[in-house]
Assembly symmetry: C2
Homo-oligomer: 474 residues x 2
């Protein structure tokens, strides 16, 4: 990397916690554990991520709805595996003696599917594709960590119902493509992994997850996709009339995209020792203009800067920092922290030449541009910055993955804050032994590409069935 | 009114409940009392109302943030009047023995102001203007009613902090103007009333409310604005350093805008016996095109309709209803229910003439337009529909208000599902007597204009101090 990110790799936690407060992303000082205040920049970026995702969901025929925050204990308990998986981490509303206790959604299967039962009558009602962007709540017993592991989780969840298992399979692929598209626009890189059976979503047939890399080596699960088969459909009594008049039980999928974790990934993957480095598409400020006043020429410089602002504002979210009580140097420092992709400096020389000096936040490279070429240049740089962030992040991810042939090697890789690729027999005993010895988890095998094992399980030495990735995780 | 709305005035409840389900606004069959499912049209309109309001808040320098759902019992209890006002209707999360109980926000003063205490240091931090669009929760003891009186309430709340009482007064006016602007765009009419002291927000110095008229005569409070003085600032320890170096306690305001109640007002004020009549600005579909096929000319008609769709889609949310399994008559019925402002019909005659037949939803008037004038005509009609809805609603509101000179007259007016204007001495005993006898409430005096009493209190006969409005309310 051309720009130093030493601090973030050496001491990720303190770098991250310091940055999110200073850059007005979140304030983690709210006095109830695991609940964050999203300040203006955090709220803005969350909203933009949501907009990007919802656009893709709309284009693919998903309908937006809003479902209640709560469900009854009775509805919550219908799918046996599901309640087993979630019952320990739900928040419960106590309405007093004699009144129903209410469960706050940790996810919305148990809230949506009773409605799906009312809505679905025949094959003409299928596929049903519904989504909502809401907060879900999980009473984390592990230590909380701002944006990564919180009790109030802003996310998007989509739920679909289909006639046939192959329709559901196709839907899993569509969901994967939607999430890939959005994460690509944000420059985030990740592994798409099919979780081992023991780690799938409670009630699913299988689960896929998007594990984004993180500077401290602990992967950050930003999204998951689940093929639910007919488990929930049976528990909630979903049925439909087929074209031939007979009754059928439909197939379901659901998928979730964690906005706060994606925000964490944007900060963690792209940020450097100077502060945030934001992808153009979600940056609250895309261009900041900083005048460099020069005695006697203040008026010309400010007028010129205002003209440049007006020009760029037509296409980009542009701020002219014309505060007079702080120096240009302080402004540079301030805006490098906040991460807008492009900074423009205007001093006496630029005014004289009808030019500006442009600086890109990702590489900190500076160039001079004539005013009549400025709009084209900014457009070109925005694209270049978006591509570079993605490329840089992908290269980093590849460099973090190493093959390991035995447990000691896995330990070394994890200690080095990286991700190990191993061959595994598939037995849960081996996964548990590994977890105990290396304090890392088998996160699963690649879902987007096929990787075939060639040797033996690195834990027990029996013939390997899977190539899987081992990492610590949030 | 030129279009019949007989049913909605004669039997409002059944008209409303039937319509919101059929038009896919909300499904009220979720099995936990007071919690609604917003289906695609309800969710769409809620989002659009939110966008309109947030735009105005942004333009006036409010910062969007997101605060937690919960507060601790300790934080919740700091302002004595406030907790008295809300403690009976909050939902409480029971975390089990030995753990803190959490209060779910009925509104967010007690959640935001501890953070304001951290953020505000000096006059340079003021004014602080913050908002969020979230759900709040109130355990209604009264009967619930879809959109009007629910336990999960989607709204926007803004909270501001100022140096001086006159800054806070100016902020109240700014809030009023913002809400007026948004409600005007939606064609909703209302009275802006300063609530009597006994009915102000718990913890406020005074409260203003927007009471929208409703076909059943019960006014629908869609928004409120509160001048909080220094009550909360003192309770939460807010302080700032003044320009002269001394310490001061700031002044606060807060204001809330109920999205579900505004949605209810849109449906109730504009709807007719055929269904929804949506203001163009928030309609999920703004133009629907219905082909009238004619034997042997189906192909030409559908091609022409597709061309018209392409033309209009550039400016408006346009749907071509090309379903082949239902008749044009069924389509008319279906789309009148859903309420898009403009319907376009295309049959063999229109194709032959290069014209279309346009029908406006508010008046059901039909006219023929040549294709080359279509875009201008649609733009003109959209404006005309928006103005007509507003005008029609205002006229209706004025016709619902009558002066009353004694309690019997008030009773008659309220029984007739209208609003009474009376003169009142200001004593709470008179207000209580009135409430007991006429089952209506004193909603307050006009805030936007001054109305001076000329005679005596219609209840006790003493000299009147206020001109106030009496109505039943949701």
């Amino acid at each position: 990397m051309s720009v130093s990110a030493a601090k973030k790799f050496e001491n990720f936690s303190s770098w991250f916690d310091d940055l999110i407060l200073k850059a007005r992303i979140v304030d983690n000082r709210f006095p109830v554990k695991g609940f964050l205040v999203y300040m203006e920049n955090g709220a803005y970026i969350l909203d933009e991520i949501r907009r990007l995702l919802e656009n893709e969901l709309e284009k693919t025929g998903h309908k937006k709805m809003y479902f209640p925050l709560v469900t009854s204990e009775e509805l919550f308990g219908k799918e046996a595996e599901h309640i087993k998986g979630f019952s320990k981490e739900v928040f419960v509303i106590d309405q007093g003696p004699g009144e129903q206790r209410l469960i706050i959604r940790p996810t919305s299967e148990t809230i949506m599917y009773p409605m799906f039962k009312i809505w679905i009558r025949s094959h003409a009602d299928l596929p049903l594709k519904v989504y909502q962007s809401v907060n879900v709540y999980r009473c984390e017993t592990k230590a909380t960590r701002a944006l990564y592991r919180v009790r109030e989780i802003p996310w998007n969840e989509a739920h679909t119902v289909h006639e046939t298992p192959s329709d559901a399979e196709r839907q899993v692929k569509e969901a994967m493509e939607i999430y890939q598209k959005v994460l690509k626009a944000l420059g985030i890189s990740y592994l798409i992994l099919k979780r081992p059976d023991f780690d799938k979503f409670a009630g699913a047939v299988y689960s896929i997850a998007f594990d984004a890399w993180n500077p401290d080596g602990k992967v950050n699960q930003v999204a998951t996709i689940h093929n639910l088969g007919r488990n929930f459909a049976k528990a909630y009594g979903l049925e439909f009339e087929k074209k031939d008049g007979s009754r059928g039980i439909p197939y379901q999928t659901c998928y979730g995209f964690g906005f706060s974790r994606v925000l964490a990934a944007i900060i963690a993957q792209h940020g450097d020792d100077h502060g945030l480095v934001l992808p153009p598409i979600i940056a609250p400020t895309q261009v900041v203009i900083i005048p460099i006043p020069f005695k006697g020429q203040e008026k010309q410089i400010y007028e010129y800067a205002a003209k440049v602002k007006e020009m760029l504002s037509q296409k980009w979210r542009t701020v002219l920092d014309d505060r007079e009580d702080i120096t240009p140097g302080e402004k540079f420092y301030h805006w490098e922290l906040l991460g807008p992709p492009i900074r423009i400096e205007i001093g006496p020389r630029e005014v004289a030449e009808s030019s500006v000096t442009i600086s890109r936040r990702d590489t900190l490279e500076r160039t001079k541009v004539q005013l009549d070429k400025l709009t084209d240049k900014v457009a070109e740089l925005m694209d270049a910055i978006a591509s570079n962030l993605l490329e840089r992040s992908r290269r980093m991810m590849m460099s973090l993955i190493s093959d390991a042939k035995d447990i000691d090697e896995i330990k070394r890789i994890l200690k080095d804050r990286r991700i190990a690729r191993i061959e595994w027999c598939g037995k849960i005993e081996c996964a548990e032994k590994l977890r105990d010895e290396v304090k890392g988890e088998i996160r699963g095998e690649r879902y987007d590409i096929a990787e075939m094992p060639e040797g033996n399980c690195v834990i027990c030495g029996e013939k390997a069935k899977y190539v899987v990735y081992v990492a610590r995780a949030y």
